[in-house]
Amino acid sequence: MRWTLWAPLLLFAFFLGLAGYQLSQPKEQFIHSTMIGKPLPAFNLEPASSTRPGVSLADFKDGKPKLLNIWASWCLPCIAEAPQLEALKEAGVEIIGVAIRDRPEDVDRFLEMHGNPYTRIGADDISAIQLEIGSSGVPETFVIDGQGIIRHQHIGDVRAGDVPELLARLQEAAQ
């Protein structure tokens, strides 16, 4: 029997193996923003809370790197990350919040219960800023440098182990 007769079967086995291998690999669930290294858009958000002013692009352009925290009072992981945001604030980091699809009374209640690490909180009722910066969920935390350039994206809640990484990224953005 000629060896070429086996070629289709070998090819089939190769594809079967390839499909089997791919199925066994964990699926990447996150959609990473492709806006890293690009500037924030011009925007102006109304205050989302009675306790803090709103947010505009100018607030990010004072030369100091900051964290931009995309969150919401209705988001459960946002409760989980509250202590870490508090720790970052204690470390001298300025955190600007954007509340997605939220009501002022709900935001106030959340801040009362879980602490308020924010210097400003803007209200994004139609996820417009979220879409502008390539964020696909809450919570997400972006490192923004002093010129308003997006330097880093952290997807999901900030856990204790993520705090040093974010501090390092902020340091990097300061240079």
Partner: protein, 147 residues
């Protein structure tokens, strides 16, 4: 049956609590007044991926974020933007992942090239098996190979 309805209501109450309580964006569920523009928007929305529920298009999804994306698409179409420019705007932010319309890129070109190569190979084989022999037939006498 009554228990079932209560259970059903409880289930929906739980999902509602995990999401926002804000009304949807103005153009999340409202069509554009101009049918031609709405048709353009619909066509585009069917080929954009919902970022929350990643196996659905934004036209199919009831996730609040999909509604916000539909609002973006419809208001941009109404403002006269080209559908492909809107797709490009999203691809710039989320990568090719957000679009269901395949593009030729460094990693996807084999998808487009392989069918062409297979067609070419099939054409060559067919030509050699059928076309080639047919052309040879008149000359078979003088070839002397078969004799």
């Amino acid at each position: 049956m009554r228990h079932f309805i209560i259970l059903l209501a409880a289930m929906f109450a739980a999902t509602a609590a995990a999401q926002d309580s804000l009304p949807p964006a103005p153009y999340a569920y409202r069509q554009l007044n101009d049918p031609a523009q709405e048709a353009k928007a619909q066509e585009l929305m069917e080929t954009l991926r919902c970022l929350k529920c990643q196996s659905q298009s934004i036209a199919d999804s009831d996730a609040p974020m999909a509604g916000d994306m539909r609002h973006q698409v419809r208001t941009r179409i109404a403002a006269g933007e080209d559908p492909e420019a809107i797709r490009q705007w999203l691809v710039e932010r989320y990568g090719d992942y957000v679009s269901y319309a395949p593009r030729v890129t460094a990693s996807t070109w084999p998808l487009f090239a392989v069918p062409l190569l297979l067609l070419l190979a099939a054409a060559i084989i067919l030509w050699r098996r059928i076309g080639g022999k047919a052309e040879h037939r008149p000359g078979d006498y003088s070839d002397g190979e078969e004799l």
